[in-house]
C-alpha cells in the first residue's frame, strides 16, 4: 500500500487515538510534574454541636490569588516521582548504604509503599500469566476433543468466569473464603486448624489472589486458543499421523508452532492486564497484605483530599512498567515480522 493511501486509511483511528489516548496521557504527565500551591493557613475558631475549638483553615482570598496566577499549581519537576511515596530514591540510597546484607536491604525496600506494591504486582503478573496460558491451552484442547453436541454448553460454562464482572466475582469468592464461608470452613475442617484464615496471612492472601486471577483470565486464553485450533490445517495433522507422530508429537510439532502468534498475543494482553491488577484487591479487601500500583492510584484519588499529582505520577510509572514488560515480546514480534518480509 502506498504510504499516502495508508495515511488516509488510518487517519480516523489515528485521530481518535490522539484525542482519547495521547492527549489524556500528556495531560496526566503535565499534572504529575506539578504540586498544589502553598496553602495559606489562618487561625480560626470552629463551633458546632460539641462546643467551640480553635482550628486552622485555608485563607480563601490568598489561595484564590495564587491559583489564578498559576492554575496548574507549583512546578515540581520529577520530584513527585522520586519522593517517598513513589520511587523513594533518597530512602533507597540510604537503605543501601546502611544495610550490609541483601536481605536487610530487601526488608528496608519492602517497607516503602511503592516497592511493596511493585513486588506484589510483579509476582502476580509472572505467576498468573504463564498459568493462564497453560490452563487456557489445556481447556481449549480438551473442548476441541469433545463431541460436537457437548461443545456449545461446555464453551458457555468455561467462559462464565470471564463473563462475571471482576468485582462481583471477587466478592463472591471473598465471602466463600470467609471463616464462615463454604471454602473457608471446609479448609478449617480439613486442616483441623480453627484459626486458619485465608484473609489474614499474607502468603495465603497472595495465593488466593493468584488463584482468582487465573480463574478469571483463563477463559480469555481458552477462547482465543480454541478459535486458533479451528485453523490448524487438517492435512498437516493427517500427514504427521501417517508419519507415525504420537498425539504429543503432533501437539508439540504441528499445533503449538501454528498457534505461536496467538500465544504471543495472549501473553501481551495478559502482561498488560495483570500488571494493572486492581479489582481483586478491592473485592478481597486485601490491601493489608497486597497492594498494586493501580490500587495506589485509586487510594490517592479517594478520601477527603484527592492527591492528583501523586496519582498522576503513579499512572505514568505504571505505563512505564507496562512498556518495560512488553518490550521483549514486541522486539521478538518485530524480528519475526522482518524475517517474514524478507
Amino acid at each position: 500500500m502506498p504510504h499516502r493511501t495508508f495515511l488516509w486509511f488510518i487517519l480516523p483511528s489515528l485521530l481518535a487515538m490522539i484525542l482519547f489516548i495521547a492527549l489524556p496521557i500528556g495531560s496526566v504527565l503535565v499534572q504529575s510534574m506539578h504540586v498544589e500551591h502553598e496553602q495559606v493557613l489562618i487561625e480560626t475558631e470552629t463551633c458546632g454541636p460539641f462546643g467551640c475549638t480553635p482550628s486552622v483553615s485555608v485563607d480563601q482570598n490568598a489561595t484564590r490569588a495564587l491559583r489564578e496566577a498559576q492554575p496548574l499549581g507549583r512546578f515540581n519537576g520529577l520530584r513527585t516521582y522520586t519522593d517517598r511515596n513513589h520511587l523513594a530514591t533518597a530512602e533507597v540510597a540510604q537503605a543501601w548504604s546502611e544495610t550490609d546484607s541483601l536481605t536487610g536491604f530487601a526488608g528496608r525496600l519492602m517497607n516503602l509503599p511503592f516497592y511493596k506494591a511493585l513486588a506484589f504486582t510483579l509476582a502476580y503478573t509472572f505467576v498468573v500469566t504463564p498459568l493462564v496460558i497453560v490452563l487456557g491451552m489445556a481447556i481449549a484442547l480438551g473442548v476441541n476433543g469433545l463431541p460436537q453436541l457437548m461443545k456449545g454448553t461446555t464453551i458457555f460454562v468455561s467462559l462464565l468466569p470471564m463473563i462475571v464482572t471482576p468485582l462481583v466475582g471477587s466478592l463472591i469468592l471473598f465471602w466463600m473464603i470467609d471463616a464462615d464461608g463454604v471454602i473457608g470452613a471446609t479448609l478449617q475442617r480439613l486442616t483441623g486448624d480453627p484459626n486458619l484464615s485465608l484473609k489474614a496471612s499474607p502468603v495465603l492472601t497472595w495465593i488466593t489472589l493468584f488463584v482468582y486471577g487465573i480463574w478469571h483470565s483463563a477463559p480469555f486464553a481458552f477462547i482465543v486458543f480454541y478459535a486458533g485450533l479451528q485453523t490448524v490445517p487438517a492435512e498437516t495433522l493427517e500427514a504427521a499421523q501417517i508419519d507415525g507422530a504420537s498425539r504429543w508429537q503432533r501437539l508439540r510439532y504441528v499445533v503449538i508452532p501454528h498457534m505461536a502468534p496467538l500465544v504471543v498475543f495472549v501473553v501481551l494482553i495478559q502482561l498488560m492486564d495483570n500488571f494493572r491488577v486492581f479489582e481483586p484487591i478491592v473485592g478481597f479487601s486485601a490491601a493489608a497484605n497486597a497492594t498494586s500500583l493501580s490500587y495506589f492510584i485509586y487510594s490517592d484519588l479517594r478520601g477527603d483530599v484527592a492527591q492528583f499529582g501523586s496519582a498522576a505520577a503513579t499512572s505514568m510509572l505504571t505505563i512505564l512498567g507496562v512498556a518495560i514488560l512488553l518490550t521483549p515480546v514486541l522486539i521478538r514480534t518485530w524480528r519475526d515480522f522482518n524475517r517474514k518480509r524478507v
Binding site: G48, P113, V305
Partner: protein
Amino acid sequence: MAFLRLSGLTVAAALAGGTAWAGCDLAGGDIRILGNDFAAINAVVDGARACEGDGVSFSANLTTEHRDIQVAALTPNPAEYTSAIVANSSIVPLINAGLIRPLDDLVAEHGAGLNRNQLITIDGQVMAIAFMANAQHLFYRSDILEQAGVAVPTTYEEVLAAAEAIRAAGIMEHPYAMNTKVGWNLAEEFINMYLGMGGSFFEPGTANPAINNDAGVAALEMLAALNAYANPDFLTFDSNATAALWESGQLALATMWGSRAAPILDDEGSTAEITGATMLAGAPTVGGGTTPASTLWWDGFTIAANISDEDAEATFVAFMHGLSADNVAANNDLAVWLAPGYTPGATAGGVFATANAGAAPYPMLPYMGLMHTALGDNLSEFLQGQESAAQALADVEAAYVTAARAQGFVE
C-alpha cells in the same frame, strides 16, 4: 452535660416551632442534593422532597461514594449539586476550596426553627447546618458478661479483661471486634485510641506530624491487644462486617458506630435473644485517661457557592422541611438528631454517654484528611506483627509529610 441539656432544649423548641413549615412557599428554583446513603439521611431528603413542584425541581444523589465526587461536582459554575450533605471530616475539602457559601442570611430568614448548636460556624460564619450526631461506642451482650462474671467495662483495659474472661470460660474464642478494615476504618480506630491516650496529631500551630511518641505507641499496642481477641480476619472488618457478626451472635463486646444501634436493635437480621441482651454503653477510656477513646461526629448539610441565590434559598427551605419537627419525630430512632422534635430513645444511649463524658470532636483541620489516609495505609504491618509500633508510626509520619508537601501544607 452540655449535650444532654441541649437535647432538653430540643423538645421545647419543637413544641414552639412545630408548625412553622407548613408549606414551602417557593417561587421556583432547582434543588439538587448530593449525600451519603443511610437511613437518617434518606429520611431528611424524603422530607425535603415535599417542596417539589410549582416550578421547583428536585433531585438527589445519595451514595456512599459521595466524598469522592463532591469537590469535582461543586467546582463548576453552576455547580452540579446545590447542596452536599457532609460530616465533620468531609466538609473540610469543600471549605479548603471555597465551594460552599456562608448561610448566615438564610439562617436569619428561614432558620427560626433551628437549635443554636446545629449551626457549624467557622470564624463566626455559619457554613453548615448539622442535623445528627454520631460516635463510636461500646456494644455489649449483658447475658454473656453475666455468664462470664464480669462487670460492664468502662475502660479498654477492662474490655481486655472481660474478653479474656469470656475466652477463658470457653464461651467465645473471639468475643471482641472493632472496625479495623485497612484504610479509613483502621485509621479512625487509631485516632480514637490516640485521642483517648491524650495525644495530639500535629506540632502546635503547624501541619507537621507529631504522632511518633509514647501515646502513639501505647494506642497501637492497645489496638493490637484488643484485636488478639478478634477474629484473625479483623483487617477486613468494616462497619457492615462487624454489624453482621454482632447480629449473628458471634460477639460479646464491640466498638461500633452509634448509627448502627438502630439497625442492630430492630427485629430484622438477628434473634430476640441477641437483640434483647444487646446493651449500649459509652466509649471506654484508655490508659488512665478521663475522656472516652472516641471522636464525636456530626452530619449536616451545606449549600454550594457556585449556584444562584434562588437555588440556594430553595435548597435551604427544602432542608428545613426535611428537618421539620414532625419529620424528625416520625424518624426518631434512626439517628441521634440534633434538630428540634427529637426525643432521645433506646438507640441513642451510647452516643449520649460518649458525648456527655467529654469525647473530642473529630478535628476539622485542612490536613487531617491526609493524616487519616497515611494512618490507614501504614498501620496494618504492625498489627500483623511484621514491624514495631515505632516503625509503623515513623512510616505514617513519612507518608504524611510526603503527601502534605505535595498538597502545600508543609515545606
